[in-house]
Symmetry: C2
Subunit: 529 residues, 2 copies
């Protein structure tokens, strides 16, 4: 890894590089190597990082935590032969790449909003059609086209989209070590499955929040991986509880070595909606350093951080005044405090653009990302070329970083509004003798605790589990589907409290209120209130 040649480095006058800003991107691009134009070019974030990155120390090595499978993966023989393609005049009869003349797609067009007219109505009026031709690169019309996006690519993703992702990562997180890399993924679910195979041997324990994304756990268990649940409070994961589990790990009693992988959703946690403060993150990072823990930060909801909740009768908080205020409002990520390179951050477009692109990305140290790409090239390979091209046209060519920030601020306000409607509905319609909650600060989920010990049939032998089941069925019978908290409990956790998870992402505003009313009615009937 080395900085791009001939970089005109901006410093603060003391030789220290200034962090990258949106305004500085044009200069970095101007000094970077030319965008590769061929089929399946090898690429990395190093092509697109600002010079400031190269003044930082390198990440630690993580050889000792890689699985035997991860250590055994080799560079694909055929992809390795691609290095000869750089020879001028060489004709390749090597790789089995189909010829683009046989792709039956000559032009793609997609209608998208222009900031600030983000609503579907505004898009129909002021939106633009972004058009990609088959040979736009050859014809000098664009840096990316159908000819290239629809052929095979490298498992890092296309350089065209990777450039935007790398810049975005530096703008938002600016990792404090030098050799960080991004890699596109076929979505975070795929990335997590791969990370598990890279890091956890059969029989190992994985550290997870005591309530966690059920699919994340369900990915792990059939691999023979066990879960050590860590207690949470209203800010999520408790550093003391993490330290406690690790300090008192009894390998003999557990039949497994001390865990070294933590999976956490720091922002708008699924299912609890909890968001870790910066202090909380720093404390958890410190415990991780103490015990040699590698952190997977799964962050689909990072940009669904909302305005503060002000209550039903107060004025809503106005949106961030500008991009600077917006960036300041975001709680720093683990990646942004990761001096060791002990964090793998999983990012997703699913919650902020569309789940259908099946495109996400990860950020981590060069060593970990290199291993990840070795898995990718013999599995999902890379996100769909249609997806990559459409995201490039929208994010890079049309919106740029400022337009994407405008969109993210718009999403922040939309979710703030939805959250407010749900919390207001809860205040109005739920029986507060037995139901309690904290308004979430991020994400899609509202976590409602129900005091099951006040259930009238408890004395006649009903159990906690049978009450949870009865409340869930009563809600369904009254016309509302709400998730049972126990669906999300980490394996091995003993259930004592009772929760329900309600999402404010999907239903319409009227339906959110109506659904909460139905849930409240069902609770009242069941608890005879």
């Amino acid at each position: 890894m080395s900085p791009p040649a001939a970089l005109d480095v901006e410093t603060n006058g003391n030789g220290v590089h200034k962090p990258l800003t949106v305004d500085g991107i044009a200069a970095v691009r101007a000094h970077s190597a030319k965008m590769p134009a061929g089929v399946a070019p090898s690429t990395s974030s190093d092509m697109f990082k600002s010079p400031a990155c190269y003044t930082k120390p390198k990440a630690k090595r993580w050889d000792h935590i890689l699985t035997l499978e991860a250590k055994s993966r080799k560079t694909s023989t055929l992809k390795g032969a691609a290095r000869y393609l750089k020879n001028p005049g060489l004709i390749s009869l090597g790789g089995g790449l189909p010829s683009p003349e046989y792709f039956p797609f000559e032009e793609l067009s997609i209608k998208v909003p222009t900031p600030p007219g983000f609503s579907p109505e505004a898009t129909r009026q002021s939106g633009v059609n972004l058009v990609a031709g088959k040979h736009d690169i050859r014809e000098g019309k664009s840096l990316y086209d159908l000819e290239i996006s629809l052929n095979y690519g490298q498992s890092t993703g296309s350089p065209q989209l990777l450039r935007f992702i790398t810049e975005h990562t530096e703008l938002i997180h600016n990792p404090p070590y030098s050799d960080w890399q991004c890699c596109l993924t076929a979505g975070s679910t795929y990335a997590w499955d791969t990370a598990l195979r890279m890091l956890c041997e059969k029989g190992d324990y994985l550290l997870m929040e005591e309530y966690t994304f059920s699919s994340a756990q369900e990915t792990a268990l059939p691999l023979g991986v066990k879960v050590a649940p860590i207690k949470m409070d209203e800010q999520g994961l408790l550093p003391e509880a993490l330290d406690d589990v690790l300090s008192n790990w009894d390998a003999t009693a557990r039949g497994a070595r001390k865990p070294f992988v933590l999976y956490t959703i720091p922002t708008g946690q699924n299912p609890t909606g909890a968001t870790q403060s910066l202090e909380r993150r720093k404390a958890i990072y410190k415990v991780s350093q103490k015990h040699g823990i590698y952190i997977i930060e799964d962050e689909p909801y990072y940009f669904l951080q909302m305005q503060p909740y002000t209550g039903a009768d107060s004025e809503p908080v106005p949106p961030p005044a500008n991009h600077g205020e917006f960036l300041k409002s975001l709680i720093p990520s683990y990646l942004s405090i990761d001096v060791d390179g002990r964090v793998l951050r999983m990012e997703s477009f699913s919650k902020v653009l569309t789940p259908g692109s099946r495109t996400g990305w990860i950020i981590g140290s060069e060593q970990i990302i290199e291993r990840f790409t070795r898995y990718g090239e013999v599995s999902a390979q890379h996100p769909s070329g249609f997806s990559q091209l459409i995201l490039f046209k929208l994010l890079d060519e049309h919106w740029g970083h400022p337009g994407y920030f405008d969109w993210l601020i718009n999403m922040r306000m939309q979710y703030t509004n939805r959250r407010d409607i749900m919390v207001h509905a809860c205040e109005k319609h739920l029986p507060q003798e037995i139901a309690s909650w904290i308004a979430p600060a991020a994400g899609m989920f509202h976590w409602i605790e129900v005091d099951w010990k006040k259930h009238p049939e408890l004395t006649s032998g009903k159990t906690r589990d049978s009450i949870e089941e009865a409340l869930f069925q009563a809600a369904v019978n009254n016309g509302v589907l709400i998730s049972r908290g126990s669906w999300f409990k980490a394996a091995g956790r003993t259930e004592d409290k009772m929760f329900f998870r309600a999402t404010f992402a999907a239903a319409s505003e009227e339906n959110i209120t109506e659904a909460i009313k139905r849930f409240g009615d069902a609770l009242r009937v069941e608890f005879r209130l």
Copy 2:
């Protein structure tokens, strides 16, 4: 599994159902259940199969070959809750699905060819723009739209595209058992990685052709899976050799149980270009029955079956006269003779439409496909929604099955032409004292044997491997990249012959001829001819 209700079953007069034809599809569709219109509907090929399928016996069970991981995978808790969504009037606060009003894509349009004008030039003149709006389903304009394709889906894929795939499978392969299912995949590379995890435990042996797709082997080895190579001839895999390896398997000497998974590329095999005849397939199937073998048939090149090679001075064979002739010209697949349900067929759009869609599909028995979907929902989930929508618009709404057959015939003739150019160039430019080949009948690859034992420096101590390396480098230095045969040899195979693999898929016609000339020149210099 049960047939769709109220099917008006066409029989041949003796109560036996006629095989599905293109003309019969409208009737099957008319009697099938309505296309599901909601987000992430559960779906299966049973919704779309013709009544003829249900008269056949069921597949065998394969419980005994599934890995512990495969047996342990459970239905996703959250996807399981989706069953309540069928309740009329129910409002869901359950799943974390984003609202489509926040997908910044209002309309997608793609310019594609109209049969028979398939060339890029013809498309620019007679092609049409297929347009998908955000709410086409609600507005009654289409069965599929951006609202649905861009949200999450089931890991079987969308019912819209699955219908076309299921019909196509029945038209081409008509599997001889009843409970076959299709499942969309994020490409065959992903499907193969998943199949390995489903079927092979660490330490198991996998049966592969002695020369095989290097990536397929590289996927397996880091899982701790070993390879038992099976000898081939000009028709590929030898059934006697397969029987021999299995009949004489010494579990103690090998340190592993007898293999039960065969990976084969029956048509246009990579790298050898060999195509198994129907008789060969039947013989291999019979050996597989004898030894309890489960067959993975990897078939990206199935529709790159070409017209017979007639030599440089003969007239080319005209294209198939009609769709019936075309279908008759295709060698039957393993799937089409699979009375036991012991075949998992992996299909891909990569070689016939575009690699960039990252969309393929698999066909197998209900038991195996159900297990596969359990992997998919915690990994790649499903192909990109952009890809699925574009493929549906092209294949189902625009071309239909007849138009797709026209396209496939067009591809057949294009590849026939490319193959002919390459073989003619070899006849003209390669030194036939040391180079020999058989014109391939399918696929992208020409397999050239070089008689290294005639190398002049053999007596002065040069080895087979050093000669292969020298020939490869001489070719690169003379401006042509051609793949070394040893890159493809199955692990454990001892190299005695020497081959080079040349693809006629990618280079232009002029470049194919020029490249072969350069290779011939390099061979002449090295062999001092």
